[in-house]
Subunit: 508 residues, 2 copies
């Protein structure tokens, strides 16, 4: 990271000084989101919500292309439904918002109070396996009704004691896919397919490399047979779980009664999956790409790809400059680049040019274009890329800029990915001994919580006891057990045989 | 409506036999939605949700074009916030879902029970004026921060004792716009602008004519100074409120503390508006356009505009027919008609051709295209329009169909609007006396709740007492007080002067 004696940055503190506080400040400065007075619930402001809308648009197209359709199921889950799958209810019981009344009335003290208690309390969905399962049980009669391939965009609530904007909030937005299949093999294939969709989306749209694989038993979704996950790396070298896909076996089908007549006339329970990605992804983008001047957005998911900043120090040139800006915006918008939506904004506000420029730097818009009286004379513009130093500016003819804008944006998309990949790779290490492992994950100077650690690729004997020991000692967990080619070896903690290296890290 | 001795229809009962039951059956048969086990909450199935997604897409583009951006605010409202505006809390108190606990634990009887009571109960938002107001109070300091033009797509909850799919459900989906302005005039203009957006959307996208205007005081949104509304007519001649836009004056700004420094340095409360359209619109489309064979969808909002039905009675022609269907679909999809998204589906399921055809009739897909071995030989297709009799089919060359598909779809869009307009106009009557009014709204034979009434355009003296009398006697209310040109006259109930005719009807 950068030199501590560097010039003043737009965000205080800098990342290396206090990463968690830097994150909070960046999210606020870019007007992505802010806490609300409702414990753990955030307000997602237009700039932050615009990023989420683009993520939705792109993910939704990928879900459709893999045969899924959207639907909507109730927000409330009757407590009796929710309790049907024992592991599931146990996993979520500590964080459930519970509706117990359906009316307000004026109390003896003149204040409004809950009235009309419900016969059965309702759980505000923390996830929808059980409420969706109740519908699927009605819809599925025969193998001919399968597969069911449905996704839902929704809000969910998991009571959160230590909230952090986007990363961990009591209410969050997500999509949850819920599918039913005729065979175990098909359901396992679906769970893997959707993990691949997530990996592709995060790589190609969010410019973030991930490790993908299976979770160990202790980190599984409550009620799942197998949980798959993708894990990104923040700039403090901690892991962020960015998307999960679960093979649920017949557990939830049994709990909900999703049963079908097989091809040979028998009754069998369906094989189900579920998979989700959340507004946490917005925080992951900030933590991966942001710098000491604010957010840096990959062009594919930025709410605006290009901002035009009119520079008109004198009143007499103002109209002319604004007209040129309008013309430039129209040319850029007409430039139909097939593979990338280009949205252009002109910031006509009557603020100082410097103040405006810094706002857009903090918001992370990929390209900033200044246009002033001198540019007008030369028929040129001054272009700044957010992935380069804030001082780097390039002057080019308007014509050239219009022609090259798509290419510049794709180049930013690419450079962000490469930078993130290099950072991730530089901080991923094959580790061969317990001592080396403990060293890797221990800060050198405990007074200063300086940056340390990363992803450790190390052999493990598969035992839960080892995992718990490491978690207690270092707050480090197994993030994923990668699939595919494996190199056998010996567990660095016990010396026992290990089929493959697994990925360890501290995490959000 | 149609002849009672007509041939059997796909939906039983027919509209004229029992309109409410016909509606329930159509919604189920088209797989739009179904009740859930959670009182008053519905499951919106993919075909119904697809309609809502298209409505969202089109409305959202109109909101953006008028300068609005989307954001997201908490689902939960602290009770103290909610109670800040007295009329508002009173208006919603009877239908609030209240969260009182944040955890579940195992009770003495071994069953899960709510645990960890909250210090302050949380209301699940029935609408978001108060929670959004709390954010706006922080964001607005000066006239320079205005206007704030934000929309939210969200779920809301209003406890419902007599639910009806789409029209009245405990949980529903909607958009709610919330804006703050510097002056009263600007806020009033905004409220009217968004009503105009709704009117345009409902006319041009949903093919439904409406009456637009102001609500009388008794029908206003709780806390509003003025409520504007658009009112559609169902085929039982009742009104359906299809969208509302409220001028809130400074009421909510005062309650939330949205205050700003004016241009001349004073402190003033902001002028706010809110406006919303809901999933009720899906039900409105069904009630306006549906017939005794099911739903009829306007092409602009149909999830699929064209369904291709392969007819392959013999195994040997099957592969060839399917190949031709794939080719046709590809040609139709490549046909980029600028102003209309065309989605094509091929129904390859191994069911009888008749069964498949009827499924798509009930779902209301605008164009059905049959393609069988004989069509293959002739290089032709057999086309059915959903706005025509199910028996009307036209054979045309494949090439002609590909070229004409957009025009056929636009023709269906147009014919649906004209049919709905004619029905609405035929059942809208200027009424000049109290007797005529009571006759108009009284069934001729009370044993048979036959279709009667419609929209009555009648003069009214502006008094609340008259409104209440009419409501008690006939269940008829003033739907809107139209704006624009007025013809003065005398109240048909009291003989007192009236500035204009108002629109009366029974309503959903």
């Amino acid at each position: 990271m950068s030199n501590p004696t560097a010039t003043k940055t737009a965000i205080t503190p800098r990342r290396e000084e206090d990463f968690p506080e830097w994150y909070q400040q960046v999210v606020r400065a870019a007007e992505l989101a802010e806490p609300s007075d409702v414990r753990g619930c955030m307000v997602i402001r237009p700039w932050g919500y615009g990023i989420w809308e683009n993520m939705q648009r792109d993910l939704d197209a990928m879900f459709r292309a893999t045969g899924h359709r959207n639907a909507y199921f109730p927000l409330f889950i009757p407590l009796s439904y929710f309790a049907k799958e024992a592991e599931h209810v146990e996993g979520f019981a500590k964080e459930c918002a519970v509706v117990t009344h359906s009316r307000l009335e004026v109390g003896a003290d003149g204040k409004m109070k809950p009235a009309s208690p419900l016969n059965e309390p309702l759980v505000v969905r923390p996830t929808s396996e059980t409420i969706i399962g109740a519908s699927y049980a009605k819809w599925v009669q025969s193998y001919r009704d399968l597969p069911i391939l449905i996704n839902q965009w929704a809000n969910v609530v998991r009571w959160e004691m230590r909230p952090r904007l986007f990363l961990r909030t009591t209410e969050f937005l997500w999509q949850e896919g819920h599918t039913v299949h005729e065979t175990e093999a098909e359901a396992r294939e679906e769970a893997q397919r959707m993990l691949d969709v997530y990996e592709t989306f995060v790589r190609d749209h969010c410019a973030i490399p991930v490790f993908a694989g299976e979770k160990s038993e202790s980190e599984r979704f409550p009620g799942a047979v197998e949980t798959l996950s993708i894990e990104a790396m923040a700039q403090d070298r901690k892991a962020i779980q960015a998307g999960t896909s679960h093979f649920l076996g017949q557990n939830f089908a049994r709990a909900s009664g999703i049963q079908f007549q097989t091809r040979d006339g028998k009754q069998e329970f369906g094989w189900t999956t579920s998979w989700g990605m959340t507004t946490r992804m917005v925080g992951t983008v900030v933590m991966t790409h942001g710098d000491d001047d604010g957010v840096i957005l990959p062009p594919r998911i930025a709410p605006t790809q290009i901002v035009i900043l009119p520079i008109a120090p004198k009143e007499e040139s103002r109209a002319q400059v604004l007209e040129a800006c309008d013309k430039l915006a129209a040319q850029l918008r007409a430039n139909k680049y097939v593979d990338l939506a280009i949205d252009v904004e002109i910031d006509k506000r009557d603020l100082g040019g410097g103040a405006k420029n810094w706002e857009w730097i903090k918001k992370g818009v990929p390209l900033r274009v200044e246009l002033g009286p001198r540019d007008l004379e030369n028929n040129s513009v001054t272009v700044s890329r957010r992935d380069q130093s804030v001082k780097t500016k390039e002057s080019m003819s308007t014509q050239e800029f219009v022609a090259r804008a798509p290419e510049l944006l794709m180049s930013i998309q690419q450079s962000l990915y490469e930078r993130a990949k290099k950072f991730r790779d530089d901080n991923t290490r094959k580790i061969e001994s317990k001592k080396e492992f403990y060293d890797f994950f221990t800060p050198k100077n405990s007074a200063k919580p300086e940056i340390h650690g990363g992803f450790a690729l190390a052999h493990w004997n598969g035992s839960r006891e080892v995992e718990e020991q490491i978690k207690n000692d270092l707050k480090v967990t197994i993030r994923v057990i990668p699939r595919g080619d494996a190199e056998a070896g010996k567990c660095i903690f016990t010396g026992e045989p290990s089929a493959r290296r697994v990925v360890w890290a501290k995490s959000y």
